[in-house]
Symmetry: C2
Subunit: 407 residues, 2 copies
């Protein structure tokens, strides 16, 4: 028993359990520091927890379900894919919104987008082959651990600056016969980037062409927790309408301000190649990963609230305040069209060094972008109160000036 890990547990999962994400590390530091010096003196822009309470309809749905529904049925098992009534409510919301013709049988409810993504990657991972999933950086770091946890490989290509456009040429170069899917996350975490229809059409054309070359479909796995958080009267293009081989992984975490409740879905559009098999494989993946029926009360809540839109005014106000404030100081930032993150060029280009400096000198917590696969930037979450942004602005200015003069 010389090597404990080797003898007792999986190296891979041990490493996932021991490595803290850069985001979580800063967040934990912020909580500790707040206890030490007071929460008002720590400026924590690290975490993507909605700062707007759930819409009134959500609270009403909880109350009416708990008061009116038979508790045995309310808290009992639903079918593994989720209550058919709830799935139909969600299908109808999508149909109303996008002019589609979905029904309950194409939706599989999951414990949030994480479970949706993990089950989808597992279902797409063939036992006898290498499995590659392409993603454009900056990307949500958990993709790597979902894909690798099922034996696959995440193939990362950098987005195109200055606006983080889809790197079509790099994606084309990265496609091999092992390519199973391209992961799209628009609006993007960490950058707030929203892909427009024309850009997605070009990607669709590319993937159709390459799928013919390699002899099997290349799916888009569309991770859409921020789909409803889009500004300036824009709307996120619904990717299955552009590219039929799109599997949608959705979460209500951000739109309904309930990230802790873990509720989302996978949509397998009937227009996708082999859609019936894919749906069954996703159901089978969920089953073998230990997901049977998403939490039942919350299922019903999102069924009743499927049509509810988030109130994004507070985020929009923060977005302007932060973007305009920081660019006025001299920071270079990517103007975000969605989500609640601002992606800012790190002064001096070393994001970790600047993040450490801001933390030490001003208790300003900004996530360095290395773990998003795209060095040199800072992710600033603006799902905080307006007052926090206003109070932090002199600190952003102080850091900018002193760090620059120091280097």
């Amino acid at each position: 028993m010389t090597d404990p890990c080797q003898k007792t547990c999986s190296d891979l999962t041990l490493s996932y359990g021991q490595q803290k994400s850069a985001i979580r590390e800063l967040f934990e530091y912020g909580k500790m520091k707040a206890k030490e010096i007071g929460a008002d003196k720590v400026f924590d822009f690290s975490i993507g927890n909605p700062s707007v309470p759930p819409p009134q309809e959500v609270e009403e749905a909880f109350h009416s379900l708990l008061q009116e529904k038979d508790p045995i049925a309310l808290h009992g098992y639903t079918s593994a894919a989720g209550d058919p009534v709830v799935r139909q409510q969600i299908a109808e919301q999508l149909n109303t919104e996008y002019g589609t013709h979905y029904d309950a049988s194409q939706l599989y409810l999951t414990c949030g987008a994480a479970a949706a993504l993990s089950s989808t990657f597992r279902a797409l991972s063939l036992e006898s082959e290498d499995n590659e999933f392409i993603v454009a950086a900056p990307y949500f770091p958990e993709y790597k651990c979902f894909v690798e946890g099922h034996g696959g490989k995440l193939s990362v290509v950098p987005s195109t600056l200055p606006a983080l456009d889809l790197p079509l040429q790099a994606i084309e170069n990265a496609i091999t016969t092992s390519t199973r899917a391209v992961i799209i996350n628009s609006p993007n975490n960490p950058s707030g980037k929203l892909y427009e229809t024309a850009e997605l059409q070009s990607l669709a054309a590319l993937l159709e062409k390459k799928a013919k070359d390699i002899g099997h479909p290349i799916y888009i796995v569309s991770d859409e927790p921020y789909r409803e958080l889009v500004y300036d009267d824009q709307k996120a293009p619904f990717i299955p309408l552009i590219y039929p081989n799109t599997l949608v992984c959705y979460s209500y975490s951000k739109a309904l301000s309930m990230p802790g409740e873990r509720i989302g879905y996978v949509l397998v559009p009937p227009e996708a190649d082999y859609s019936k098999d894919l749906y069954d494989a996703i159901a089978g993946a969920a089953r073998s990963l230990g997901y049977v029926c998403a939490p039942s009360l919350i299922q019903r809540v999102v069924g009743l609230c499927a049509h509810v839109k988030p109130d994004i005014r507070a985020y929009d106000e923060n977005r302007h305040l932060l973007y305009e404030g920081l660019t006025h100081i001299g920071y270079e930032a990517i103007y975000p069209n969605g989500a609640f993150y601002l992606f800012v060029k790190a002064p001096g280009n070393d994001a970790k060094a600047f993040s450490d400096y801001a933390k030490q000198h001003c208790n300003l917590l900004l996530v360095p972008s290395e773990s998003f696969g795209f060095p040199g930037f800072l992710r600033i979450s603006y799902c905080v109160s307006k007052e926090r942004i206003e109070s932090a602005m002199p600190l952003f200015e102080h850091c900018f000036k002193t760090y620059q003069s120091r280097t």
Copy 2:
């Protein structure tokens, strides 16, 4: 694209998605038949959904949390392992009940026992080796798909009749250098069998001896959703007190009558070998499978209700009614000490044939035991109303007599 499955999705997960379990198949048949001929004419003993509503304390906890707690915090992310306050509440319940000294850091909250088991099997599965998990049949069929889904092998040994005792010799014979753990499920689904302390002590002695032989620990993974459903003033022995290398996978589904809410935990006792690494590996497995923080509202509900005991009087009454009724007719049944299942010898020994006969002639739905790895028996769930058992008794008698005379 000649072979769609080969080209688009994992064979293994597709098979898990396409094969319906025997339990679900009967359950779905029952629902269909009820629509056709009326629910009162279908006698469905197929499913293990609690028939007793959640305790009053559960409903009160929902209401007070929704009324009193800040909704942003209530529905927001907790730490990945679960709210530390909730974990401490659970640790204290265990300490009070069993005289242990656990704390929050040894508990990892999960989406039910399924997620707990899946994460634990994944954590125990070494990348570079074969991984075997031993279970005594009859066993809960999903173990197979959790273990095999992570590349492991479920090694099944039959329990010893007439009372389904732990088959110690068979377990010893099944142990190899690839053995990672023995799965224990007491009280057992599908048989209601409860292992007593002496039996578990013998298993502990065996595993300690064999662990020395093979040079690494053999854990017990104790799947305990029925731990609180024990009759005749008995109590389920708490296995970590008998064998320190025990990882407990618990669910509140049955005790608090909320199987749909998907809330449970893994306990890694500090006395277990390499417990810190194991805990981290389980956390890492959960992360890579896509489990981050169990549903937050329900976490708080079980925290407040950790000490609440189920009211098992209705199940106990059903147990006697069914056991005595059936044995009086002439059926041979295993007297159950826990859970809410009766395991009955199939007249004629062909369980599938008898189940089909009972279904066709009497609309009596009984699960044949083949999928539990132990042929020749029927699982009868008695989490139904007393009236259903009383009404079904003449049908049980009719089937017994006509089937016997037919063969």
